[in-house]
Amino acid sequence: MNRFDDKELRRSLLPSVATLFFVVAYLVAGYMTLDETTRYVPLMTGAVTFILLVIDIIRVIVRGGAQSGSWVVEGGGVNVPESRGREFAAVLLVAAGVGAIYLLGFIVAIPLYLFASIAFLGQQSIRVAAIVALLTSLVIYLVFEVMLDYQLFRGMLFA
């Protein structure tokens, strides 16, 4: 069997390869856009990181994915759900929440984000989601706008 047919190996290689692409892009951008004095330290750091990544990739390939310790993580790791949909949904909801805050501001977007996250991703009752969303938004408003006198972001549409 081809070594790269091993699903575990491919999964173990993925983060190192993705980081390697980032480092290469960083090195190219640094070399192309910066002058000699300002790029010296960043490129030196990038080059060292590149070498470490290549060693890591070789190590994973030689030892095989399962033995490389890729799924043993600090602080107990992530219990990866069987369906990846939940992972994508969680990340997408954060992105949508931040996007909504950017457009509509905290006061409008925070209750919407909380309601959507609790009711749909969290699968809690509509009543619980609505109560938590409204109460949290009220506390945020009272603490930040009223007590601390911060002007909360009103969003690009209302600013």
């Binding site: 330290v41 931040v98 996250s117 909360l152």
Partner: protein
């Protein structure tokens, strides 16, 4: 000195001053608990308010904030894995796993004891070292700053993960990210791709909130359940066990306090580095370093001792030279100047009683914050029983508002969420997050130290071997790297022995 100390204590314990101290403690706890805010923001908000106050009252309030911030920041670090302040991030490592095991009260008890003990140690050191503070600070020039930064990154990369290589890679990526923005030595703009927001580099607090708090909350919302994995196992009576554990590990308290005071005194390095180094050294010195990160009480005691001790350390260069040891101290410098006090060697002669008052305020506020923390531990620990599906979005929302409130900059919020997703992926794919954070913090210090050293040494690397301090630092870096191979070699030898025997 004893008369002055006594007089300062009498001034601090006057009812009027105590009100300001208590007010500072409450503000410090609240700002510490909210991820993204912290001592710098609290002191910055206080700065204009102190204008009309007596110096003693202003110092009592500022001291109250400084002493209580550590406790507040560590509470959210333990319960939510969202460090309220940068230096509390190291407490997440073992504090949050303890909360997951239902032992949040033990962790808070340890914080409530280690934090004031560290503060007390720092104050005593401050009083002893004060006469020679100038000589110590002057031992550090550009080569030493560079080497301290490298030492910090290397020790954290080694101790943060069983996989040294991935620790170093994460450190490398953190350094690369730290070079984004304005080059303070040569004046160029790097890797901003036309974005004005990135001119000042990647801001630290949004990065910390994203990498630790948001990443953890994304994980919680995916996994479901509660912070404490077994809700039935949550102990709300563990405070005394945490206090006893701290007193039992008094050597760790002293080691953490020494680290905090020393690193805190080095301008520009800061409290976050101090707490991570305290954690790393304790982990390395332990017989079972691999168990750190799974909920070892020693992993809380070390950084917490350093967390409060660092304030006294940071006060030395701030008061003696007007060089702030941290961002918090830079704001405090503003309070000093607002009250007509010029930092420098003469400040100790001219305002000795006020300085002692401040020192006592920091110590007393740490004790007060601990008492308040312990009193509310039952309610605080109950947070770990809230359903993750509800808690995670609420914490993410509060974190986003807190992060925005630092500079009223929407970009900070976007950055925190992007780094939050990156943090989740690092968690998912076994890349330690700590070396990335520590490198992000120390990148600028390291580069500035390196470039200035090269200029002084006219391009020769021998500049890093010319002073005793730098030779000691080089030796420590080499020893740390060599020491990290010991467990690997032991493992290989143990593997070989049975083969040879057969």
């Amino acid at each position: 000195m004893p008369e002055l100390l006594l007089s300062a204590a009498q001034g601090l314990l006057a009812p009027g001053t105590l009100v300001f101290l208590f007010g500072g403690v409450v503000v410090g706890l609240v700002f510490g608990v909210i991820p993204g805010l912290g001592g710098t923001t609290a002191l910055a908000l206080l700065l204009p308010l102190t204008y009309g106050m007596e110096v003693g009252h202003a110092f009592a309030m500022a001291g109250g904030i400084m002493g209580a911030i550590a406790m507040g920041g560590s509470i959210s670090a333990i319960l939510l894995n969202a460090p309220g302040t940068g230096p509390s991030a190291a407490t997440c490592l073992d504090g949050h796993p303890l909360a997951k095991q239902g032992r949040a009260a033990d962790a808070i008890g340890a914080v409530a004891t280690a934090s004031p003990l560290g503060g007390l140690f720092g104050v005593l050191t401050f009083l002893i070292v004060l006469p020679v503070a100038r000589d110590i600070v002057l031992l550090f020039g550009p080569p030493e700053f560079f080497l301290v930064a490298v030492f910090g990154i290397v020790t954290v990369a080694i101790s943060a993960s069983a996989n040294l290589l991935r620790g170093l890679i994460a450190g490398g990526v953190g350094l690369m990210l730290s070079f984004v923005g304005y080059d303070t030595v040569h004046g160029g703009i790097r890797f901003t791709f036309g974005s004005d927001y990135l001119w000042d580099g990647i801001p630290l607090i949004p990065s910390l909130v994203g990498l630790f708090g948001m990443a953890e909350m994304i994980r919680l919302s995916i996994e479901g359940g509660t912070v404490a994995a077994d809700a039935g196992a949550v102990r709300l009576d563990g405070v005394w066990s945490g206090i006893r554990a701290t007193l039992k590990h008094w050597k760790i308290v002293i080691r953490g306090s020494i680290t905090g005071t020393l690193i805190g005194a080095i301008p520009g390095v800061g409290g976050t580095v101090a707490t991570f180094i305290a954690y790393s050294t304790t982990k390395k010195a332990d017989r079972d370093p691999q168990s750190f990160g799974t909920g070892r009480i020693e992993g809380i005691i070390a950084p917490e001792s350093a967390n409060n001790a660092k304030d006294s350390g940071a006060l030395m260069p701030t008061l003696a030279f007007g060089i702030p040891g941290s961002a918090e101290m830079a704001v405090f410098l503003g309070i000093l100047m607002l009250h007509g006090m010029q930092p420098g060697p003469t400040i100790f002669a001219e305002h000795q009683q006020d300085i002692y008052g401040l020192i006592l305020a920091i110590t007393l506020s740490a004790v007060l914050a601990s008492v308040i923390g312990i009193s509310f531990v039952r309610w605080l620990a109950a947070i770990t029983l809230v359903k993750g599906q509800i808690l995670a979005p609420v914490v993410i929302a509060v974190s986003l508002v807190g992060v925005y409130a630092i500079n009223l900059e929407p970009g900070d919020m976007v950055l925190a969420s992007v780094i939050g997703v990156l943090g989740y992926l690092m968690l998912r794919f076994d890349y330690p997050r700590l070396p990335l954070v520590i490198a992000l913090i120390l990148g600028e210090t390291a580069e500035r130290g390196f470039q200035q050293s090269m200029m002084i040494g006219q391009g020769s690397w021998s500049i890093f071997f010319q002073s005793t301090t730098s030779i000691v630092l080089v030796a420590l870096i080499v020893l740390s790297l060599c020491w990290s191979f010991v467990p690997y070699l032991r493992h290989r030898l143990a593997e070989r022995e049975p083969t040879e025997a057969s």
